[in-house]
Symmetry: C2
């Protein structure tokens, strides 16, 4: 059987990801072709800076270069649009235009899919084209494929992960070198792990985009970014990182989606993870996602969370999937075989408010007088929160509060733990802000 | 578009894996159908013990029960054969018969594929049917899918993993409780982690079956089980597990496939892994596989390595892939989209003999006299092996050899390290067997 004609790619964006995709496609073209069974050729590229684009393309022939993304998105000679420019405004238009013109879409744009996924995926299913986005979540780690294909036998119970490299780098430095958040952020920015405006990352928004997509694929629910509970690490104190260490935990920014009887939890926030847990060993800019399935048990997927070639690896894997779709007959293109959100139809599962979430908690109560430690479990019990461990932690540098009570609770309702934290803060002996972080054991 | 008719499954074997597959298919049938877009129905089962089979099937209607596997393999009402009986004799016949009758095959049988994979995959490609075997390697962890699909952008540099749960359980107990191999094996057998005849597992054969399949998918080479270098853990001493710990390492049975300029390394053997490495945290019966791709960097996949429902999870994931293959036209079935060994054609890469492999080594030299420690690096240098660290380790319980020299070398040729071990054993001061284990850093 003769080899099929190459899969023709139109790419919007020639920045970090676009350039990486171009380079890897060229460097590994023989191996990619040997696996896909046909060539994969970039035939059109849209970029804002045409001179830069030309430099990246190194004079390659047969590539139409333009500053008009819609030209590429609707190009008659393009089978699949690769959208790697980012953003949620124009990118939405380009992607919808490509779909309306019967083209598949491959994107790494988690913000776009988290905010407009419902619309995009519905349009794709109506037009019978694929939307692939392995590069949008934990880049080179094929976690979207694991959820959409590898784990299809399972009723997924929960998904939890470290899915933002910027914050994980910061947290690793805070723990390894005792840095404050501001010091670690400055280091991250100097090394290129954080943007000049780091809000998206440090405030947990990027992690929430990804957690939203993981939840949708795990539970067969719609994309519900607006309902996610999102907390970042901007207010995390170096002292809490040190206290967590003392108690045998590490602080990580986790994205968690968990199925409960009444609905689904969808939350991003810093959490204490037992130091011996695999997730606690995920350091620097690396990412990892754990999935608990009722048949599979726990599986974990680990690797780079960002970067030019790791993202390109994911984008190209999506292209190879599309290239391999073949029909035994000669008519037209095969229908995409995998629904974009794993399930053919979404179930309208409610997202639970965070007040109803039940987890263990860590609390640190600054006290003027060590004797006041005894009051802490009483206040907690009064709020329906049981104490698992209580430690007197001396903080010699804190003249107003030389003793901090460190508490790890048994599982408690978030609303109860919040109320307990407020009441502890109101104690006469309390001489500073009460810190509260959730504790996740993840078994 | 009307839902397609169910995918009809014929299953050979209703033991641990077969029964698990049946149970999970029934328990999660709605979610599976919601993802696959059609039902998946077992229509025929072959088993040696029909009474047991009937008990597992709990009187389900519409399932033909027989003691004739070939009947199921060639059954006109079956689309895909699930071979979960195991073995390499009759299983080969059944699988080839199913392929010859135009049926896809899903199997968890690594022994069959390691020994007869060339023949089986060639037959499948000739007949245009799929052979899927996610359950054959690290069961529920979708590692075959990661190599065949998720990482297709990459030139894979190496694959390394803990892929046998029996030996990893034994090694974990030797390290955690200081047990000897025999003690830990007895414990494993009592708990059901090891067979009455454990040779396949403890001698590394099972791990070699899996490493062979991983290598073939990673490098686009044929299945070369006969060329693999295989060493198990039967002769591993408790003292070496303790010394490794002292030096900052853990002993693991690793399956390694690595691309070199001259060919491919394919080896299974115990190895020291740095205690801080992720692989060193993989304990008990769990499995993990690391893959280094030139674009992706290192990714790791972790989860259960065996078990009824974890294996069923993998088998059913393969079935869902097949169920999802649809043609937009009405003619016949879609061609399988993924080549069984990732590449459409295999490259005839030579498997390098182990003598040419270059790794770091751990050596333990029992000495009658501590002063002889000084001779050790001289012998090593004479054999072209450079010492990275040398430690005098007191063994008070060894009257003949109260001091053991512990060496970790720089990377050296296996043949040179082997020669050095023999020469060290011939030293007058050497008063016991010299232990030698490879050290793998895996970056």
């Amino acid at each position: 059987m003769a080899e099929a004609a190459p899969l023709r790619v139109g790419m919007i964006g020639i920045g970090t990801v676009g350039a990486g995709t171009w380079r890897v496609l060229r460097r590994n073209q023989e191996a990619i072709r040997g696996r896909a069974g046909r060539g994969i050729e970039v035939v059109a590229v849209a970029a804002r800076n045409l001179a830069r684009a030309a430099a990246v393309l190194e004079g390659a022939e047969g590539v139409e270069l333009t500053d008009d993304p819609l030209r590429v998105a609707t190009h008659p000679g393009v089978d699949v649009l690769v959208e790697v420019a980012g953003g949620t405004g124009p990118a939405r238009e380009w992607v919808l235009a490509a779909i309306a013109h019967g083209k598949h879409v491959v994107t790494a744009n988690k913000a776009l899919l988290a905010e407009h996924g419902g619309e995009v995926f519905a349009a794709a299913q109506r037009h019978g084209v694929a939307v692939a986005y392995e590069g949008a979540v934990a880049v080179s780690i094929p976690i979207v494929k694991a959820l959409r294909e590898g784990l299809t036998a399972n009723r997924i119970e929960w998904v939890a992960g470290i899915v933002n490299g910027t914050t994980n780098f910061i947290l690793t430095r805070m723990r390894d070198a005792g840095l404050t958040f501001d010091e670690a952020l400055a280091e991250a920015q100097a090394l290129g792990y954080a943007e000049a405006d780091p809000a998206f990352d440090v405030d947990g928004v990027d992690a929430a985009h990804k957690a939203t997509l993981l939840a949708a694929n795990a539970f067969g629910m719609p994309v519900r970014f607006a309902d996610a509970h999102v907390e970042g690490i901007r207010t995390l104190q170096a002292l809490d990182v040190a206290c967590a260490e003392r108690l045998g935990y590490r602080v990580k920014l986790l994205g968690i989606a968990r199925r409960e009887a009444e609905g689904v939890e969808l939350r991003v926030h810093p959490a204490l993870v037992p130091a011996g847990h695999l997730l606690a060993q995920v350091n620097g800019a690396m990412n990892a996602v754990l999935v608990k399935g009722d048949a599979s048990g726990v599986t974990m997927y680990y690797g780079a969370g960002a970067g030019s070639e790791p993202t390109a690896s994911a984008v190209i894997a999506d292209l190879v999937d599309l290239a391999r779709l073949q029909c035994q007959c000669s008519q037209g293109a095969a229908r995409p075989s995998v629904p974009p959100l794993a399930f053919h139809a979404q179930a309208d599962l409610p997202v639970l408010g965070v007040a109803a979430v039940r987890t263990r908690h860590y609390l640190r109560v600054p006290l003027a007088d060590g004797a006041a430690v005894a009051q802490v479990p009483l206040v907690l019990a009064d709020c329906g929160v049981a104490v698992q461990s209580l430690v007197r932690h001396a903080v010699p540098g804190d003249a107003a509060a030389p003793v901090h009570a460190l508490v790890v609770t048994h599982p408690a309702l978030d609303a109860d733990a919040q109320r307990a934290a407020e009441r502890l803060g109101a104690l006469p002996a309390c001489a500073g802000a009460v810190a509260r972080l959730r504790v996740e054991v993840l078994e």
